[in-house]
């Protein structure tokens, strides 16, 4: 089964076509990178896949089930989980609690009113393991809002993983990270891509070519090229769209 099918997705903001007849299949165990210039509509596409924005037409099919009109939380519960280009965390909660909350979302009912959630060892263990994986174990008790920018990017990934995704939509996970942090994240993503299919939006071309199994190029809401990284890199249309930019 194809984990994620995007069929003829269209969306406009007024006269601006941000998504223009996008069709794409994301295969099992594939890391599919979507690249494109600023304002090409990459984030808006992720919004429609994750349920934060509604397409005007077209379909999104996840694990054989149409999810086009499901809200974001319902898609997340199915395993279609996203991260945000602009870091979205709970700044007043500790790093540990940010991750534990995502684990809680996958662990039975949250309509429990009496026992203290922050003392649930199961959830804290899951959270601690993920924080360790992202090198944040020593920062577990720090308020997420006080973490460094790079740490917040790592935390965002840990949170997404704690929600037990079957497919990850990552919107520029390296954005704003330092060079060392970016290297670290790339290594993490290299192991992660063996575990589940990933749609990755990324500006960092080194990262894209280090990670991607396939690449699609989005320009003005349209996919102008899609295929193996080396083929896309050689595509004259892509070179024209990125005129002056190193691809």
């Amino acid at each position: 089964m194809i984990p994620l099918r995007i069929e003829h997705l269209c969306k406009s903001y007024g006269a601006l076509k941000v998504t223009d007849d996008v069709s794409l299949d994301i295969a099992e165990n594939e890391l599919h990178a979507i690249i494109g210039p600023n304002g090409a509509g990459k984030t808006t596409l992720i919004h429609q896949l994750s349920g934060l924005a509604q397409p005007d037409s077209g379909r999104v099919v996840f694990m054989g089930e149409e999810v086009t009109h499901l809200p974001m939380d319902a898609r997340a519960r199915l395993g279609l989980v996203r991260s945000f280009q602009i870091t979205s965390i709970l700044p007043r909660f500790s790093a540990l609690e940010n991750v534990a909350l995502a684990a809680q979302a996958r662990d039975g009912s949250s309509f429990r009113f009496f026992s203290n959630a922050s003392r649930e060892a199961d959830l804290n263990d899951i959270a601690m393991r993920l924080l360790t994986r992202f090198g944040l174990h020593e920062r577990a008790q720090v308020a997420a809002g006080s973490l460094s920018h790079g740490e917040k990017r790592q935390l965002e990934l840990a949170v997404a993983l704690a929600a037990q995704p079957k497919l990850l939509l990552l919107d520029e996970p390296l954005a704003g990270a330092s060079h060392e942090e970016a290297q670290r994240l790339i290594v993490t993503l290299q192991t992660l891509k063996r575990e589940l299919p990933i749609v990755l939006i990324e500006h960092d071309m080194d990262a894209v070519f280090a990670l991607a199994d396939r690449v699609s190029v989005l320009v003005y809401g349209r996919i102008i090229a899609s295929g193996l990284p080396q083929d896309v890199r050689a595509d004259p249309q892509v070179r024209a769209a990125y005129l002056g930019e190193e691809v």
Binding site: F84, P91, N116, S118, A160
Partner: protein
């Protein structure tokens, strides 16, 4: 909750528990009456803190639940049903239904629209009260007696009534304390801080917010039952928007998102009002600037000032 932050609430409740003893040092029935009203106000404000401080739901119609509770007592009593448990049961049931309906509608909106729509629902209830000619309409209704416990006029004694109110406040405080730290409360706080993040990990905000809205409404309705008993009188004025505004004032003054801040706020508000009203009838005008100063300069309201922490 850290141990240090337990000191303030423990001291508060200890002080409240001693009030009937301390009252014998002064004009006893006056002191008892005003502290009973403070405790009832604190109970209503506490429930509003659950909404505003932990759920970021700024309800401008919370006094409607006070009205529902108070009228449960008045209407049942006027039909000869004096049983306190019937009064409480009725108040809880009616407020549950009212909160479910108005909450489900209000929570479709956000920000200032939520404030306006809760205000509108509150005013609807107020006008319903004024139109109840059989129950005094505008003028309200004096109760023949306080609620009976198994047929006995237990609440007739002001000290007993005070301790019943005290127990209700303590119970509600402990309940809310547990709730905000529970799984449910953690989700509610997460939604308050970043609803989109919470949706992205799979939580649908609506059902958690609605549950909190209903809980808060039911607690406020209990405050309404107690208020009717304390005053031995009910009127639509209990449910006016001014009353709702007063409740917001109290929680902000005391410090949002601390629960015991509501108690401090209620005490400060009532005592200040009592004090100022001796000097001028325009005492409400002095409140405005005080609130502005507190909001601007004291993070966390009076609770923040006392260093009790959150």
């Amino acid at each position: 909750m850290k141990r240090r932050s337990l000191i303030l609430p423990v001291m508060l409740f200890a002080l409240l528990a001693l009030v009937p003893l301390l009252a014998t040092l002064g004009p006893r029935s006056f002191i008892l009456a005003i502290t009973t009203r403070i405790v009832i106000l604190a109970l209503a404000a506490l429930s509003l803190d659950l909404l505003i401080g932990y759920g970021a739901m700024i309800s401008f119609g919370h006094a409607a639940f006070l009205g529902l509770g108070a009228y449960s007592v008045a209407i049942l009593s006027s039909h000869g049903i004096n049983n306190a448990f019937a009064h409480i049961g009725c108040a809880l049931a009616v407020s549950l239904v009212f909160a479910l309906i108005t909450g489900a509608i209000s929570l479709r909106t956000k920000g200032v629209y939520f404030i306006m729509i809760t205000l509108a629902f509150g005013q609807m209830l107020f006008f319903l009260g004024t139109s109840l000619a059989a129950y005094g309409g505008d003028d309200g209704l004096t109760l023949a007696q306080r609620s009976l416990v198994f047929g006995a006029p237990v609440l007739k004694n002001d000290v007993t009534l005070y301790y019943v109110c005290f127990a209700a406040l303590l119970g509600a405080y402990l309940l809310c304390r547990a709730i905000v730290a529970s799984r449910f409360g953690r989700v509610l706080r997460g939604i308050r801080d970043n609803p989109v993040r919470m949706q992205a990990i799979g939580f649908a905000p609506f059902r958690y917010q609605l549950t909190a809205y209903v809980l808060a409404g039911m607690i406020a309705a209990v405050a309404g039952v107690l208020l009717a008993n304390q005053a031995e009188f009910v009127s639509p004025a209990y449910a006016t928007w001014q009353r709702s505004g007063e409740l917001i004032f109290v929680v902000v003054l005391g410090g949002l998102g601390s629960l015991h801040g509501a108690i401090i706020g209620a005490a400060a508000f009532s005592l200040l009002a009592e004090l100022l009203s001796h000097y001028t009838e325009h005492w409400a005008m002095i409140f405005g600037p005080i609130l502005i100063l507190v909001v601007l300069f004291v993070r966390g309201g009076l609770t923040g000032l006392l260093g009790g922490g959150r």
